[in-house]
């Protein structure tokens, strides 16, 4: 494990220790269950966004995609009475399809990732509100798709399903990113797209692939989030979630300049963010300070990292 991942892992443990000492509730089964469920859900889409960040891009659209896909999922299941398997397949395909559109706009039309996905953020949010006529969509009694809601809210041997799913996704993505030819190409393109092209790498398809992965994983997460909240209110559902993902990726060692990062780092970064939110709850810090605490901790982490790596560089010279 590289220094970056190790230091944030240590930070995570230290933080857990402090919270556990100050409030033993932290280690209660209910709290551990709930926190790990959130880590699993957020981890899945953060991995997708992190892969995009490694290409040197960014994906701002996932939060709004959760609203759009959540609304559609509810309507498919409760209003159109589609079989759950079909609904899942369509949601995943839609997620990946939107990612494909982002990727093609970015690589073929040479638009900036920030702009393309920012437009996605606005567009999908608006569409979600329009389709749902600005009213909340729920899942009613859940008849006919119990297994699907179990996937989001159930557990396997006491481990929340989203966490199990994140482990599976994490392993697959780790193999892809750190062991496969595609992963090596992804890092190469992120570090120097032109040089990668001169080496015969089809950088456009490599980059597009990253956005498809991000969209697809956002599709998976959208189902988990919809069932977790059990009600999708299109104007607020998934708000700011893209920023959680980007923060997790950066905390975990991804550089926004591209070419750097790891799956382990992204997952640890996600866990750290969730523990921070949990900390605000458990330590009687006013809930309104939620974002402020996260912002401060991320800032301190980034400053510490920058000064550490500066010292390392001096030592190398």
């Amino acid at each position: 494990m590289r220094r970056k991942e190790l230091s944030i892992l240590i930070l995570l443990f230290v933080l857990c220790g402090i919270v556990a000492i100050m409030n033993p509730q932290f280690l209660s089964s209910a709290n551990v269950q709930n926190t790990s469920r959130l880590i699993g859900t957020y981890g899945i889409f953060s991995i997708g966004v992190g892969i995009v960040v490694i290409t040197g891009g960014i994906d701002l659209s996932v939060g709004s995609m959760f609203a759009l896909l959540g609304v559609l999922l509810s309507m498919m299941l409760t209003e159109w009475h589609w079989p759950a398997a079909l609904a899942v397949a369509v949601i995943l395909a839609l997620g990946a399809g939107l990612g494909l559109v982002h990727g093609l706009l970015i690589t073929r039309l040479r638009l900036q990732p920030f702009i393309v996905t920012l437009c996605g953020l606005l567009l999908y949010r608006g569409l979600a509100r329009y389709i749902a006529a600005d009213s909340s969509k729920g899942f009613g009694s859940g008849k006919g798709f119990r297994w699907l809601s179990d996937l989001a809210t159930g557990s396997l041997f006491g481990v929340p399903m989203p966490f199990v799913l994140m482990i599976v996704v994490g392993v697959v993505m780790w193999l892809m990113l750190h062991r496969s030819v595609y992963g090596r190409h992804l890092f190469a393109v992120g570090r120097n797209e032109e040089a990668a092209r001169y080496s015969g790498i089809q950088s456009q398809s490599v980059i597009t692939g990253a956005y498809v992965i991000s969209g697809g994983l956002a599709g998976v997460a959208s189902i988990l989030i919809a069932f977790y909240t059990n009600s999708v209110s299109p104007s607020s559902h998934g708000n700011f979630y893209e920023l959680y993902a980007i923060a997790a990726a950066v905390l975990g060692g991804c550089s926004l300049r591209g070419g750097e990062g790891s799956i382990a780092g992204i997952v640890i970064g996600t866990a750290l963010l969730q523990v921070l939110r949990n900390l605000v709850n458990l330590l009687d810090i006013p809930g309104s300070l939620d974002f402020a605490v996260m912002g401060a901790v991320i800032l301190i982490g980034v400053i510490a990292d920058a000064s550490l790596s500066r010292r390392e560089r001096v030592h190398h010279q």
């Binding site: 496969s180 030819v181 190469a188 040089a195 990668a196 092209r197 001169y198 030592h315 010279q317």
Partner: protein
């Protein structure tokens, strides 16, 4: 009195002694060439003069006064101007904006920039350099040579008494180089002292009043004006004789009967849409492609390699036309490019030597889409040994290697495949003498194995020393092809400017 006197300058970095008691002095109106292999300490010495590094010991005097240069700002205040090898102009600003960057004169209570004044002063400085350009021209619209002149103009307008020029001609054409030489000589006549750093010894021979040679961080010797000879400089630089610098083809007579391996027909590039280029390279031949920078040579090789698609034209290998839409297609056909700018295009400097070498053909070292690092390592180690790449291990990041070793890594990428055609674009730009010779040997070795080589070079010695034939380009078309027997500097120049 000396304009500049550096005595006993030492500088240690953790693990290396970059400079060991180095002396350098410079009289008013003198051009001193500072030469040495990469890593000899030239750039550290200049960084000390620029105020970027502080020496551990030693004394710097300017006009006899001891000075301490703690920052680039202080260095500039003492009249030291630096023209960097990598141009440091802001290309979205105009000429005047660059010349006065950071010290714009203002007027009025709101301190608006005094445009009229900086325009007028810029015109005056440009006139000293014999340039008639509008001060409002955007720098990005200027050719490289003029961008460099803007840097020189900036230094002059700062009243620099000491001018450091670091490899100033590395991206200039022959005529532009001559233009620069005139400027250097004019400045010298005006009393400006110049430290001229260059790997091109013929330039040093023409310009320098004195040559100071550094080797391994120490003074290796000084040559006065009448002692400056190519061989002497090389000998001092490397500490040994380099008698076999170039290895010409053993029997050039056989070249003519060998078959044409690689042919380009009527290729038109975006830069010169009205002229088509045709050329042919035989198996085992090195065809030098000479010409002025801007003659369309780099555009041509970029088009052949599929980087910038040509407007028209075909590429043939062994008589069959091949379609090239991207570098990937070219690579599949066995056509490889060693690009001019290796840090931007040749290498991914943040990746390791091993990862760079295997990048173009990772499929070969993987199974079912997964990379087998042991197979990768075998190839990387083999290439490092064959090409004598100096690196502690294959896991070292490419950015840590010297220019020459980096260029060998770029070569290694392609040599581990089976090259048919290699396009070299300025193969030894910014590379030191020792590594240059090794790359020339490799080039000849490849040709002897039957590879067709097209070598774009603006370095006349390189063209004359390595080519079996020379094609010369002028404004987008081939103005002539010379056999080895006809190849002289004059003949090439005549075609290049024709």
């Amino acid at each position: 009195m000396h304009a500049l006197q550096m005595s006993g300058i030492s500088k240690r970095f953790p693990g290396v002694t970059a400079l060991d008691s180095v002396d350098l002095d410079l009289a008013r109106g003198e051009v001193v060439a500072l030469v040495g292999e990469n890593g000899a300490g030239k750039s550290t010495l200049m960084k000390i003069l620029a105020g970027i590094h502080q020496p551990d010991s030693g004394m710097i005097r300017i006009n006899g006064e001891p000075v301490v240069l703690r920052s680039p700002r202080e260095s500039a205040r003492h009249g030291i101007g630096i023209i960097h090898q990598e141009l440091e102009v802001i290309d979205s600003l105009d000429i005047a904006g660059n010349v006065f960057l950071g010290r714009e004169p203002t007027r009025g209570p709101l301190r608006f920039i005094d445009r009229r004044r900086i325009d007028a002063e810029t015109v005056a400085v440009l006139a000293r350099l014999n340039l008639r350009l509008s001060p409002r021209t955007l720098v990005r619209q200027l050719p490289t040579a003029h961008q460099q002149m803007v840097e020189i103009a900036r230094a002059i307008s700062l009243n620099a008494g000491i001018l450091i020029m670091d490899e100033p001609t590395s991206s200039l054409t022959l005529t532009e180089t001559e233009q620069l030489f005139r400027v250097v000589k004019d400045l010298r006549a005006e009393g400006v002292s110049i430290i001229y750093i260059s790997h091109r010894l013929s330039e040093v021979q023409e310009l320098a009043d004195r040559v100071v040679v550094l080797r391994d961080g120490k003074n290796a010797g000084t040559l006065e004006r009448d002692q400056i000879r190519h061989n002497q400089m090389v000998q001092l630089m490397v500490g040994r004789d380099l008698n076999s610098f170039y290895t010409p083809r053993q029997s050039s007579a056989t070249a003519s009967c060998e078959s044409v391996c690689f042919e380009v027909k009527e290729m038109r590039t975006r830069r010169y849409p009205n002229s088509g280029v045709s050329l042919a390279v035989r198996r085992g031949e090195i065809l030098g492609l000479a010409g002025l920078v801007g003659a369309g040579r780099s555009e041509l090789v970029a088009a052949i390699f599929g980087v910038e698609l040509p407007l028209s034209g075909t590429v043939h290998i062994d008589g069959t036309a091949v379609e090239i839409q991207s570098p990937r297609d070219a690579i599949h056909r066995g056509i490889y490019l060693i690009p001019e700018d290796r840090r931007s295009f040749g290498l991914i400097t943040a990746m390791t030597v091993r990862e760079n070498i295997t990048l173009p053909a990772l499929e070969r070292y993987s199974f079912a889409g997964f990379i087998q690092e042991s197979a990768e390592e075998v190839v990387a180690v083999k290439m490092c040994t064959e090409l004598k790449i100096k690196t502690p291990s294959t896991g070292v990041t490419a950015s840590n290697l010297s220019g020459g070793n980096q260029q060998k890594v770029v070569l290694a990428k392609w040599l581990s495949l089976k090259p048919k055609v290699i396009l070299f674009d300025e193969p030894t730009r910014g590379i030191d003498v020792g590594a240059k010779a090794e790359i020339y040997h490799l080039m000849r070795h490849l040709a002897d194995q039957g590879v067709a080589i097209l070598m774009v070079s603006s370095d006349m010695e390189e063209i004359l020393g390595n080519s079996d034939r020379v094609a010369v380009m002028h404004e987008g078309r081939i103005s002539g092809v010379l056999d080895r027997a006809q190849c002289t500097q004059e003949a090439i120049m005549r075609l290049a400017v024709a």
